[in-house]
Amino acid sequence: MKSKKYSEALLNLFKKKGFKVKEFENIIESKIIIERSGEIFKKSLLSFEDDNGKNFSLRPDLTISACLDYIKNIKRGIYKYAYFDQAFRRTFGKESLVRNQLGCEIIGSSNLQSNTEIINLIDQSLKKVIKYRTTIKINDINIFYSLVDSLKLPSRWRLRLKRHFWRHDYFKELITRLESNSDLQKNVFELDKKFYFKMKKLKKNEKIAGRKINEILNRFEKKIKEPRSNINGARVAQIIRDFLNINCPLKNARNELKKFEIKNKINLKLNQFDIFDLKLKNKNAMFSANIGRSVEYYTGLVFEIYKKSKSLNLASGGRYDNLMQTLGAKTKVAAIGGAINYDNILKL
């Protein structure tokens, strides 16, 4: 009953702010998800095959369902979704296959106003319904990307750090590898170099296992030009770790980051970020450089809401400006959304 009371109250508050409560299709074609996420998400899908060999899955996530609904039915303009329904994922521990997901999304808008709107809506609605004071943690993952761009690193390492920012454990492993300064294996490299001269004589457009000779040679040359031994991996790793430890009130964040720039002689290009201009109703807003790293598709602003007296996560969300296109939208459609951590709310 507590569950129904909370969900109805939250959805009503969302509706009052112009969000449309929607129900989504239960089944989606697995290809749509596998094509964008690869094998990593495939393991979690509850899938089945029809008589024609086509693979379908129970919807694994309602943000994805909202995006697919927009692509199919709305197509253009700003649309505000609210939903409370079940998502289904294969689990490997004691977790349930069925997850209750309550959330809201603004699809089709890229401005600061929609960022503020989503955070304020979720935070204020929670406050009204559960009657506890909350703390908001905010971050923009592009500040991390800007940090990586300002560091002296080979381009392939920059890409690697950005791509795996959302995978905590593997990211840690990458930082350790960065410290150890071991990248190329000399003897193998010398052997490859011999092969390189042989390959230079081959036709450049010929393909070997899906890759053109030209492509292979170019990448090999690039690796020679950008040896890892030229960088101070330990220092770079320390800067990254220090950055991820930045945690301060949002109103002080610009100054803290400026101090960090001066200390490490880097330029984070802070003027391009509007996170410092968010007009939040909740004054307990913190900047935390380490949050928003659990969802691969976030592209900018990310937030997490906690019960103030305990570190209990109540909601989280973020901006996902590239997701729509990878799910099949013909043009780029910016979007932001957030979901209530419903199981934690029921614990209160």
Binding site: G38, E39, R156, L159, E173, A209, G210, F220
Partner: protein, 229 residues
Amino acid sequence: MSKLIKIGLPSKGRLREDSLKIFKKNKLSIKDTKRNYLSEIKNFSINEVVFSHAREIIERLADNSLDVGISGFDLLKESLPGIQKNIQVFSRLNFGFANLIVAVPNAWIDVQTIADLEEISFEFKDKNSGKLRVATKYPNLTNDFLLSKGLTQYKIVNSLGSTEIYPFTNQSEIVTDIASSGATLKANNLRILKDGNILKSSACILVSKKSLKDKTKRKIIASLLKKLN
């Protein structure tokens, strides 16, 4: 409770021969039936020897239709967690050695490590040519390994045999496969990545955990394992 112990042995090839040898060496005489898939150890407590596919031995141990068996460690690790949890590895044996590895075409000289592969996988994605395809007979072990090493943008192509030729017949770009000496890979213009060792495997003696819960069977199994050790 039944005193009958069911023993699963590989039905084909070197694994069958070497398994029979280990019984013989330990003075357990199995009637070699050549064509019949059922036999027994003549000088041991009531038993039945079933010759099966090595993969099937794992499944039958998990559902307890076999009590003891010999199969590959790679096959056990490839099976689903729900199957593995019902099987105990008694000992690794001194035969059936094989490594599960990641191999790329020799001509991919710019790819030395899985980290390189990870970059290549994004190139495949960005060029809209789809995902990097990995041919394998071991999809579960391959997925666990590649994901732990940071590779996410790839697609598994299930292979039943001749996996080594997949990259050159446009069925996949790279492979993961069993290699013992590496000669087959070399003959097929493939090379193992520096950090591409997924699993070191050998034959092993496996026991169904459910059988161990039965007091009578546990005693008989213990005596059999003692003789084999």
